[in-house]
Amino acid sequence: MESESDGRKPTAPRKPAAPRKPAATKKPAVVKKPTTPRKPAPRQRGAVPPRPTLSPAPPREVVLRVTGLVKRFEDTTAVAGIDLEILAGSFFGIVGPNGAGKTTTLSMITGLLRPDSGTIEVHGADVWSDPVRAKRKLGVLPDRLRLFDRLTGAQLLYYSGILHGLDPTTVRTRSADLAAAFGLQDALDRLVTDYSAGMTKKLALAASMIHSPRLLVLDEPFESVDPVSSANIIDILQKYVAAGGTVVISSHTMNLIQRVCDSVAVIVNGAVLAQGTMDDVRAGKSLEERFVELAGGRKAAEGMEWLHSFSD
């Protein structure tokens, strides 16, 4: 792999560690603020009242701060020192090629996978040393992890709500609301194991929101979800963001990320290659073009001529 120092080669102006304090993540922050003008001002005023210790000056508080995250699996380094700062009220996309370490990173952020080093703070609470407080603020949709699928949809929502410490009445009303919002009403009484992949995803998504967390971390939320449902989900998420919530999603559907996210980080080989507002990272191109460029460009498809002479 690459070492941490040269890890962030192409996008030269990225040195997030140094400036740190003033509106940290967004790189030429001053310039870039205006690109997302509608959101910051009204939002953080209404929805984020207490604003603890962290950031006194900047307009938006940091809801997720990741520093120096490293994870090794035997002889491969899956995540090689990732730093992220995500502001409250942002719709943050994490993109990267297959095997770039997106899921590993998100698993560590959500407290499901223990990092080898580095810290993760969710709204001031460390995920690994103060898990109870941190996880209350955190809604999680993991990728490729099972659900308790011998429960019915209703039972699973109820189970998640109760384990999150909600009282039964709240769980019931919220379950009903979520089921309506995600179009799951007809499926609630069936076993989750009999659901289609998309339905399962929607149910898991609903379960991740039941405790009204401050931050939603969703790993591939649109995978195998039909276009109507994903439009629906995007709608729900955008309203949540407008109300001051923060969403972090990973995907390799560039168009979708470009459309819905206001900030983005490109992760390749376990390191952040570019990070900032969508317009910064895109630098005038489409996110897809920029991404292919950052991720090392296209491989010329040579040496597979046999594929073009069909066998029968």
Partner: protein
């Protein structure tokens, strides 16, 4: 290609020993069952060599018909996990006839096939009384093996084809177990009948008809030849050959059909309301208990345990009765044995959740809630079992004084088993069958080895209950007062181990939750 298929089948067979304890126990049972059947039947066939032709003929025909029936019907209930399902080879583009032939040949590598080969060879021995019968019986042997294997292949595929829904899969294993248990007494009864004296005439007249059907033709042809009726023997062989041909055509058509038919869609059942979640307290502990209990009834991995556990003492009692022990004393056996397996059954409970355990992690569920929640279903089933079962056993035994001992021993076994399991499942999970998976998809074992963990948890339970057992035995032999020693020891030690186990297990769980998830992700 045949060699490849055979090698695949052999590998699969070897790998089947690396599964979960219940499956390995099941496999060993089935091999023992198969070996016992083979020895029993082949022994009979060898003995029939020395009986006159008519008697031996009817016996072999009837026996053969039963064997064929077994090969045809048993897979309907047992053969659902078809490791060589034709559909698995759909994407390789093998011509249908070749695939059908290869699969049929590969099916020869299996316990039932080994049994039928042994039986087919045995019947050659029965008819080794002259050139013609021997020759005919060699032909018959080939036909017998072909008929049995093809019949089994066809019904296995039909079963997995038609019963491919999740629910059918969940139920069929249970049906198979029940059938096996139903068969055991029949086998014992049949073994006890004095064939020399009774039913011979009935047998002969039934055999006369069966010999002309596909069920009996291959078995009867050598007998007919031994009687000197070469023409009739030829006709019977022709029937047998024709039947094999028909089976082959059916099998080939079935393979062709299966390769081009999509899976049947399950009709999902609807469950109104929250079920057990409405019954238990609305706390994390209550929710986990409700979830766990729901799984005991809904997940085939759990309810197989529920079904096997009462059967183990049944088998033990049958075996011991045959061994000559009086039924009265054996009445003391079932309750403690069931408690033993009940407490032990949950020693790998966390691994059963597989990666679904992430939900507990991301809600920072306390170990205490998790441990207690998982223990509740066992207690819900186990405590009434101990109380009611002890009284029933004592009543059958004929001395109510033993109730104290029975309750003591059983409580000790159940509670300390549960306490130990609470620690073991958090500390040493080992790979389990994945939720809803067929055994074919069984993960290769990584991490802690299953065998030692199973053995350690099992024998520690026995060791802890040993003093109660000894006290109970003293009660039977010396003075009934000892029964109360057993009761006192059992309840106190059981409770202490249970409480210590639950709280220790809870602490281990709290410390290791993310490791437990990491473990589940590796498997």
């Amino acid at each position: 290609m045949v060699a490849q298929f055979l090698r695949l089948k052999l590998t699969l067979f070897a790998n089947s020993f690396r599964r979960s304890p219940w499956q390995v126990i099941g496999l060993i049972l089935s091999i023992t069952y198969g070996a016992a059947t083979a020895v029993f039947v082949v022994g009979g066939l060898l003995a029939l060599r020395f009986f006159d032709v008519e008697l031996a003929g009817s016996a072999v025909v009837m026996l053969g018909a039963v064997v064929f029936l077994g090969f045809t019907l048993l897979p309907l209930t047992l053969g659902i996990d078809d490791t060589l399902d034709p559909r698995r080879f759909a994407l390789f583009g093998i011509p249908t006839s070749r695939l059908a032939a290869n699969l049929a040949i590969a099916a020869l590598v299996s316990v039932p096939a080994a049994v039928i080969v042994a039986i087919a060879l045995g019947q050659i021995a029965t008819w080794s009384r002259g050139a013609l019968p021997t020759l005919v019986s060699i032909g018959s042997a080939v036909l017998i093996v072909a008929t049995a294997v093809l019949s089994a292949r066809i019904t296995t595929s039909v079963a997995s084809f038609l019963l491919a829904t999740r629910r059918a899969r969940d139920v069929s294993g249970i049906a198979g177990i029940v059938l096996l248990v139903g068969l055991a007494p029949v086998v014992i009864l049949l073994a006890g009948v004095d064939w020399n004296r009774y039913g011979l005439t009935v047998l002969a007249s039934v055999a006369e008809v069966v010999i002309w059907t596909p069920l009996g033709a291959a078995w009867g042809a050598p007998a007919t030849a031994a009687l000197g009726d070469g023409q009739a023997a030829g006709a019977q062989l022709a029937i047998a050959v024709g039947w094999v041909g028909i089976l082959w055509l059916v099998w080939r058509a079935l393979v062709g059909r299966m390769l081009t038919t999509p899976q049947r869609q399950a009709h999902a059942k609807s469950y109104a309301g929250l079920g057990w979640f409405d019954v238990f307290p609305r706390t994390p502990t209550g929710a986990i208990a409700a979830r766990s209990l729901t799984y005991w009834f809904r997940d085939s991995r759990y309810n197989t345990s529920l079904l096997v556990i009462p059967l183990i003492p049944v088998f033990m009692v049958i075996a011991l009765v045959i061994g000559g022990l009086p039924l009265q004393q054996l009445a003391l056996l079932p309750v403690p044995v069931m408690c033993l397996f009940l407490g032990w059954a949950v020693h790998n409970d966390v691994a059963f959740d597989n990666t679904a355990i992430w939900l507990h992690l991301s809600t920072s569920t306390l170990g205490r809630a998790d441990r207690w929640g998982r223990a509740v279903p066992v207690l819900v089933v186990g405590v009434p079992l101990v109380l009611i079962g002890s009284f029933v056993s004592a009543w059958i035994f004929g001395d109510l004084a033993v109730v104290a001992s029975l309750i003591g021993v059983s409580t000790c076994i159940l509670f300390s088993g549960l306490g130990l399991s609470s620690v073991m499942s958090a500390m040493f999970p080992y790979p389990a069958v994945r939720p809803g998976d067929s055994p074919f998809a069984q993960p290769q074992g990584t991490g802690s080895p299953a065998g030692p963990i199973q053995a350690i948890s099992f024998f520690t339970i026995v060791l802890l209950a040993l003093p109660a057992l000894v006290a109970g035995a003293m009660g039977l032999i010396y003075s009934p007062l000892w029964h109360f020693v057993a009761l006192g020891y059992g309840v106190v030690v059981g409770l202490v181990v249970l409480l210590v186990g639950l709280s220790w297990g809870g602490r281990v769980y709290d410390r290791r939750t993310s490791e437990l998830l990491a473990f589940a992700m590796r498997n």
